[in-house]
């Protein structure tokens, strides 16, 4: 850290501390701290990875710390007495702050193609399950997004939730650990464990602190996701079993299973089993119906996590697992899936959002529309489109997270979210209105904000996509139409809520945003503009990994058309993959305990004899 940075941080911190008009010393100090840290984040992004930093600088246990730190802390919370609220809160903050700082370390390493911070260890040798975690330029952003938004959600939750703090701390910590675990797991079994583990704290969060209809929403959330994931489990086990038939080795490792080419029919069924699980999580039309309920009923903190991180698990997992394991299916279904993403997601969800009376429900539907864009970028499978989709995942986390927090602010004051109850709020809450408009602009994708870059790249990628074949033009028009719709529904709610006469007398005495709420929102505002003006800070780090994936998709899916057998599974030869991609794959040099003979390369053509 150079002296100039330090001075800058001091200056920014001082300005931040001076901003609130009615803040206590505590809020001033923390606001200053947040301002200084934000500057540090931006500066460390700017300087880029140090050229000398290499594999040697990767501490292999960093990811383990990031995953199990929060989980162990969650268990520790159970032993803290529930009366000592300040200890509970302080402990949660401390753990999350530590995780945030630790995750910034991930950014200091150049994201060359391949896996970084890779750790493997045997877990259950009997069925070939390993503890295998690693990140690349794709997952690193989602991990940082998680460690960045969770503390914000926690902070804003502690402001509005006053009951059962112990359970709240437990849920947030467990949720964070499980989400990071799902992002970094490269063993399908490990991934599944985290994927399911995540449901429990979210279920608790919606069910305990939710709105009037919380229980129905919580159960719906749990069952929808579980129904998808059990299908995925069946597909995983089938894949593993095929791999065992081919090589004689049981392995759940993603890098080992990449090589398995299932028979045609099975390939399609497994692709759908994986993808439906992910589409439910995304959520894509028509399996999106759990989302509006879950969002509306969840407490603000839960909504923020749900929108900012949890939905990204669906898009991330589609990118990693569906596209990685079944490239041919992903390409051949792409035009239809993109059509669904546009009609069902971008257009239909936007129209539904337009008609909502409840602001939170409106934002929930706008999430469906935004995730439609992200999925469109992934279906197009071009370099630009996928990078845009990944950037849009971050953007959506920031802008929608911000919107949910802002809705939470007004709900805490009026205990209603009906658009009709409001009007002319800009007169009584000018700062609040400004922040809301910024979030809206980011969400709509006005140039200069983060949303613009992502959407633009996605639309550009769609137009040039080969995977979408002849439909690329039509899809582009549909997607561009969606941008207009987004402006329609977001701006109409802004207009109705903030401008016009202050007609409802109940709104006359509303206080403007408090220092605490501003503190929670400020890092998000900073990021809206940082990404909006300097997207290459983010795009540069994800470029290599995304191009590795898109090359893999193009090469392997082309190869598979002729390679796939009607009835027998096959193994792809190792040289059809970039070596970076298979780094750290399990080696089967030694035969397993059962004495199964190790048959390695070349891949036996025609499967087992």
């Amino acid at each position: 850290m150079s002296p100039a940075t330090l001075l800058g941080m001091l200056a920014v911190g001082a300005v931040g501390a001076a901003v609130p008009r009615d803040g206590t010393t505590k809020t001033r100090i923390s606001l200053g701290l947040v301002a200084a840290l934000s500057l540090w984040l931006v500066v460390s992004l700017w300087s880029g990875p140090a050229p000398s930093a290499g594999v040697a600088d990767e501490w292999p246990h960093l990811l383990t710390l990031l995953v199990f730190g929060p989980i162990v802390a969650a268990v520790a919370v159970l032993f803290i007495p529930r009366q000592s609220l300040s200890i509970l809160r302080g402990f949660t903050y401390a753990v999350m702050g530590l995780m945030l700082v630790a995750s910034l370390w991930l950014l200091a390493v150049p994201m060359t193609p391949g896996w970084h911070f890779q750790t493997t260890a045997e877990w259950i040798p009997a069925i070939g399950v390993r503890y295998h975690v690693a990140i690349d330029g794709i997952s690193v952003w989602l991990v940082v997004l998680t460690t960045f938004t969770t503390p914000i959600a926690v902070f804003s939750s502690f402001g509005s939730i006053k009951t059962r703090i112990k359970e709240l701390c437990f849920s947030f910590l467990l949720l964070q650990g499980a989400m990071i675990g799902a992002f970094v797991a490269l063993d399908l079994f490990l991934f599944y464990v985290f994927w399911e583990l995540m449901l429990v704290p979210m279920f608790i969060m919606i069910g305990i602190w939710g709105g009037a209809d919380k229980i129905k929403a919580a159960i719906k959330f749990f069952l929808y996701t579980m129904a998808g994931s059990v299908l995925m489990l069946a597909a995983i086990v089938y894949l593993v079993w095929s791999h065992q038939k081919l090589t004689g080795h049981l392995s759940f490792d993603y890098l080992a299973l990449l090589r398995v080419v299932l028979p045609k029919q099975a390939q399609m069924l497994c692709f759908w089993a994986f993808s439906i699980a992910f589409f439910i999580k995304v959520p894509m039309w028509p399996v999106h119906t759990w989302l509006p309920d879950a969002h509306v009923q969840a407490p603000t903190g839960g909504s923020v996590i749900l929108a900012a991180v949890m939905l990204k698990l669906g898009t991330y997992a589609y990118m990693r697992f569906s596209m990685g394991l079944f490239p041919q299916q992903a390409v051949s279904f792409a035009p239809n899936l993109a059509g669904i993403a546009i009609l069902g997601g971008i257009v239909y969800a936007a129209l539904v959002a337009w008609k909502q009376d409840d602001i939170k429900r409106l934002i929930a539907y706008s999430s469906v529309a935004h995730l439609g864009y992200i999925m469109l970028g992934l279906f197009g499978a071009t370099q630009a489109g996928m990078q845009g989709a990944l950037l849009q995942m971050i953007n959506h986390g920031i802008s929608t997270g911000m919107l949910f927090m802002l809705v939470g602010v007004i709900y805490d004051r009026r205990h209603t979210r009906e658009v009709a109850e409001f009007g002319g709020l800009a007169k009584v809450m000018p700062v609040y209105a400004t922040l809301f408009v910024i979030a809206t602009m980011a969400s709509v994708g006005v140039p200069g904000t983060n949303g613009f870059v992502g959407e633009f790249m996605i639309i550009m990628g769609t137009y040039t996509s080969e995977a979408l074949r002849a439909f690329a033009g039509v899809h582009t028009i549909g997607a561009a139409f969606g941008v207009i719709l987004a402006a329609v529904y977001m701006l109409s709610v802004v207009q109705k809520t903030f401008f016009g006469p202050l007609s409802n007398p109940k709104n006359k005495g509303l206080s403007d945003i408090s220092a605490r709420e501003g503190l929670a929102l400020s890092p998000l505002v900073v990021l809206v503009f940082v990404i909006g003006f300097f997207p290459s800070l983010f795009l540069d780090r994800m470029k290599d990994s995304v191009s590795l994936l898109s090359n893999h998709l193009r090469d392997v899916s082309g190869q598979l058309v002729s390679y796939t057998d009607e009835h027998q599974p096959k193994l792809l030869p190792v040289d059809s993959f970039s070596p970076a991609m298979l780094k750290g794959a399990p080696s089967f040099d030694k035969p397993q305990a059962e004495g199964a003979s190790a048959r390695l390369e070349p891949a036996p053509v025609g499967g087992t004899p």
């Binding site: 009997a126 599944y192 399911e196 069910g207």
Partner: protein, 528 residues
């Protein structure tokens, strides 16, 4: 020679000796006062020492089975003399361990439950112990005769346990119902056994299998130019085969009753609900495990030849149909229950369905399928005993936890009880990383290995159905507040119950995180 015999039978002998001593101790001990004097001091009932003693005996038996396992039953040549009546192989030893563990957890629960609910009579414990002896013998039996004797030894104890709450008409009804239906099923089983004997001339399972193979070969329609004698012999063999098939089906029905597979499950909810909860626990875990042990042994060891195991005419399709029915009906009905205990009863029916999937898989992918059944029974024993135990813990005399409403808000009032209950429910629902998840995973893996694709999808979708009613309990515990003036459950205080819960809770998490060694044991215990 005799040393071999003692060592090999030690898991059972420990229990026989221990049970007899406890019975004597119980008979000669002075009653420690009238029930009224127990008020406020639940720990000091006359049965609390007996509970401890019986738990020790059962744990000793579990340890003995581990010891024999480690020594290696193959090295004990003296045991060969017991065959075919008793087969003491690794399969039996695995079940001895699971059965003793289930029994021990049930007696520990009883040690808290019986004094609390003024049912403090010492005969509960010897009954459990002798039932476990019967269950172990059942798992070991390789002959239809010893099978029947062991089955009745086990069942008689359980009939009494069901009716243990003598003052309650519910309990009496449950006991009578269970007894009548149980005797009926036993009769069907004996009749099936008689037909098998008639068809094959053997009562031992290995003999039945060998003879059936021979008969099956003889029954092939002879060529047109065969002599009259050959034709006659073939038609006679076909007749025998017909008798055999009927006998086989009757035996399967008799055993399906014991594992409470739909449509032979009618007794289960009533018996489970009427019995005192520790007895229910014992029925749900040990009786069911022993029944699955003998089901596997009979199906694979007795009927396990090519003819009766084929998918066109053998038992596997029957088992598949039973599995689908049992899972689906069990889950659908469980979702509609208003009493938690009854819900758990139906859930145990549904679990029997999952295990039947493993049995069906064992027909094709033999070792894997069997291992999955064994492993599932271990995880099921732990989670079910834990769930019933948590239910016991959540209630006290007059303030029992019966319906969902009783549990409302318990997460706030008694977080420890609710947390433990949730752990076991999540394990039953199969949420990773608990033991129950791995149990389901292995069954699915075995079923896929046996190419039972649709069946495994049905299982997985059923587990989503099941998640609904397990979550409902959690919803009531954490997310609902009791209505004003409504009766609420107040947790009891008992070291025994706490010990049982801690033990099964630790094991559920441990098997969930490190399932490797127990799975390897299950694989080694697979029959063939």
């Amino acid at each position: 020679m005799s040393f071999d015999l003692f060592l090999g039978l030690s898991p059972i002998l420990v229990l026989v000796v221990g049970g007899s001593l406890l019975m004597l101790a119980e008979a000669f001990s002075k009653k420690a006062g009238t029930p009224e004097s127990l008020e406020g001091d639940a720990e000091r009932g006359p049965s609390s020492e007996t509970a401890l003693g019986s738990a020790i005996a059962l744990f000793a038996s579990a340890i003995a089975s581990v010891a024999v396992w480690l020594y290696g039953p193959e090295r004990l040549e003296g045991l060969a003399g017991l065959a075919p009546y008793l087969v003491l192989d690794r399969f039996t030893l695995f079940f001895c361990f699971v059965l003793a563990l289930g029994g021990a957890l049930a007696t520990l629960l009883a040690g808290g439950y019986l004094p609390e609910h003024k049912l403090d009579r010492g005969e509960f414990y010897p009954l459990v112990i002798f039932s476990v002896v019967g269950a172990m013998l059942l798992a070991a039996s390789g002959d239809l005769l010893s099978l029947f004797v062991a089955l009745e030894t086990m069942s008689l104890g359980v009939y009494c346990l069901t009716g243990f709450r003598r003052g309650s008409s519910r309990s009496a009804e449950a006991s009578v119902k269970y007894f009548l239906l149980g005797s009926f099923a036993a009769a069907i089983l004996v009749y099936g056994g008689a037909l098998l004997y008639g068809a094959t001339g053997h009562t031992d399972l290995a003999g039945i299998r060998d003879t059936v193979v021979a008969i099956g070969k003889g029954a092939i329609t002879p060529p047109a130019d065969a002599s009259a004698q050959v034709v006659q012999a073939a038609s006679a063999a076909r007749g025998k085969l017909g008798v055999f098939v009927v006998g086989m089906l009757l035996v399967i029905v008799g055993l399906a009753f014991k594992v409470s597979a739909v449509p032979f499950h009618m007794w289960t909810p009533d018996a489970y609900e009427g019995a005192p909860t520790p007895a229910t626990t014992f029925m749900a875990v040990s009786v069911k495990s022993a029944a699955f042990a003998i089901l596997l042994r009979v199906l694979l060891g007795g009927f396990g030849d090519a003819g009766s195991m084929s998918w066109s005419s053998g038992w596997p399709p029957v088992v598949v149909a039973l599995a689908v029915l049992t899972m689906t009906v069990g889950n659908l009905v469980a979702g509609r229950q208003e009493s938690v205990k009854r819900m758990l009863a139906y859930s145990s029916v549904a679990h029997a369905g999952y295990i039947l999937v493993g049995v069906a898989a064992a027909a094709k992918a033999s070792a894997d399928g069997q291992a999955s059944v064994l492993f599932y029974l271990l995880t099921y024993t732990l989670s079910t005993a834990g769930a019933f135990g948590a239910l016991v813990w959540c209630g006290s005399r007059g303030k029992e936890a019966v319906s969902y409403e009783d549990l409302a808000g318990i997460g706030k009032r008694h977080p420890a009880a609710a947390a433990v209950f949730s752990l076991f429910l999540l394990s039953l629902a199969g949420v990773p990383p608990t033991a129950g998840f791995f149990g389901k995973l292995y069954i699915v893996k075995a079923a896929l290995g046996a190419e039972l694709y649709v069946l495994s999808i049905v299982l997985l979708l059923n587990s989503v159905l099941a998640a609904y009613y397990y979550l409902r309990v959690m919803v009531y515990m954490y997310m609902r507040e009791p209505a004003a003036g409504a009766p609420v459950a107040v947790p009891m205080k008992s070291g025994y119950v706490a010990a049982a819960l801690v033990l099964s809770g630790v094991l559920v998490v441990l098997v969930g995180l490190l399932p490797g060694s127990s799975l390897e044991m299950a694989l080694r215990a697979a029959l063939i």
